[in-house]
């Protein structure tokens, strides 16, 4: 249903036949999909299937061998990493990459710095926005002048998403945000994703926690060995025999 309404809108981010090889290994083979504003798009697949590589291609850490990545109608494959961030593609990492030797406030401020570089006008509402985000992330009780090392692993992951959202991105790429988190922390992640959706940010979610993915993503694509083996809405994906064989079947058995 969502995909029908989506066709009337222009996609924010569009991948067209993106290919990437590392020597003999095909990490991405003719990957194509579209992301729409305010949509949560899931990217799933077994370990080593090329999910993180795809995020690295979108953010520019790796350059594509062929194909195009189009943001708001503009091909950005030749754009350097920092400029892609400045046009609104912001990501988090599997393991949070924060300023380890700075306080929490400095870390959050990096998000504001990016917003300034993006020339986002309503910076005067920054404090308010930061308050809302910190509350959504369950970080209201932390002392912002504390060192980042005082935060738990989960809180650091949350902080990284808060920082990303403070820059008001167009596209938010989340690389396994829920990995290693408990249920309570997982609910904070969902709060933050909700916040992003309300701001019409499109969210690309890589995640192994299938209950989370299936409950919040509107559409999904499944990768295996760099191939896109299926795309569609969660209920279709769950029934897809190729996906069950390559990925879901295994993980379901493991969970039960």
């Amino acid at each position: 249903m969502t995909s029908i309404s989506n066709t009337q809108k222009q996609p924010v981010l569009k991948l067209i036949n993106v290919c990437k090889r590392f020597g003999g290994v095909v990490a991405a083979n003719e990957i194509s999909f579209e992301l729409y504003a305010g949509e949560i798009f899931g990217l799933i697949g077994p370990n080593g299937s090329g999910k993180t590589t795809l995020i690295n291609l979108i953010t520019g850490i790796y350059s594509v061998d062929s194909g195009s990545i189009v943001l708001d109608g503009k091909n950005i494959v030749r754009m350097p990493i920092h400029n892609r961030a400045r046009v609104g593609i912001v990501r988090t990492f599997q393991h949070p990459r924060l300023l380890g030797r700075c306080d929490i406030r400095a870390n959050i401020s990096l998000g504001k710095d990016l917003a300034d570089k993006r020339k986002i006008p309503d910076t005067d509402k920054y404090q308010e926005r930061m308050g809302v985000l910190l509350e959504a992330a369950g970080l209201t009780n932390v002392d912002l002048s504390d060192s980042i090392e005082k935060l738990s692993y989960g809180q650091q992951k949350m902080l990284e998403i808060v920082r990303a959202l403070l820059s008001k991105p167009k596209v938010l790429l989340l690389d396994e945000p829920a990995a290693g988190l408990n249920r309570k922390e997982m609910s904070y992640i969902i709060n933050l994703i909700d916040f992003a959706v309300k701001e019409d940010i499109c969210v690309l979610l890589i995640e192994h926690a299938m209950d989370l993915v299936m409950s919040i993503c509107q559409r999904l694509t499944v990768l295996n060995f760099g191939q896109q083996i299926a795309s569609g809405i969660p209920s279709e994906i769950q029934e897809n025999p190729a996906v069950i064989k390559a990925y879901l079947g295994g993980s379901r058995n493991a969970e039960n």
Binding site: T59, G60, I61, P80, I81, H82, N83, A85, R86, V90, R91, F93, R97, L98, L99, G100, R101, C102, A106, S109, L110, G111, D113, L114, D116, K117, R118, S147, R163, S167
Partner: protein, 327 residues
Amino acid sequence: MKQLNYKFVIKYILPGLFLAFCLAIPGFTSGYMLRVLNIALITYLCVLSLYVILGMCGQNSFAQAGLWGVGAYMAANFVMKMGAPPLAALLLSSLGTAVFAFVLGFAFFRLRQYYFTFASVGLMAILNGLFMNWNEVTGGALGITNIPSFSIGGAIIKSEPGNFYVIFFICLAAFFLMKVLFNSALGRSFMAIRDNEIAANCLGVNSLLTKSIAFGISGALCGAAGALYAFLAGYLSYQTFTFQQSTMYLIMIMLGGTMSPSGALIGTLIISLLQEWVRPLQNYMQFIYGAGIMILMIVQPEGIFGGGKAIYDKYLKHSKTARTEAD
């Protein structure tokens, strides 16, 4: 009995007392010792330049003594060949060295990781060679003599205490500028590069430009230090601006701690004063520095200041109002 906040004491009262003590130094210190302190403060500016490029931005440079020399020879030339007033020469050589470092940074920082360090070693060798051989500008092996003293307006500052105050206030200004830089978006982008360059790029930080700016700022500090040295010493020789000196700056900042301007100050003062006080042991100094640094890096890699700060964070920061017997 009063409620006294440790934080307040450590953040304001101790630095305030230290500042007052510094201002009083010329009152009870002899000419020679004051000269040692003046040189130490000039050295501090160079060590502070390492704080910017190494401590904040994570790029190790062995070329700081070379940049110091660039500033010194520039200042001497501005004053002696172009007749610029010393204050203008100071500003111009600081600016000139900054531009010089910034432009070189653009070439060097195309190299990632430690290759910049290799390039800086090369730069240091080239600069020292230039100082020794470019007779028209540096006076070659003979150096430049009879550089006039510093002056502001018409007032010539020749005495050691006068020079102390000039250098001290420039150091103080540099110290606070570093604090401002630390809390600015630019400073944060330096630190983002230091901690993880790719992650910094993903936050919109342009590596090449940002690192070049960091090297430029470190150049500005070295340039100012060089100019002050030229006016204070009155004589420049290529033998002053050596690789050895660059290494000494690194030892100083490692000792004090790379993470703060205060650490740089502690390291500079300890080594500068040690060099004076233990002159009889001079032959062993290299050994003592080397062993000292190795032990420190194993025991407390963040240096003396880093160690102190760790203790403060652990025990004092959250004891918000500690009771003290202060009337």
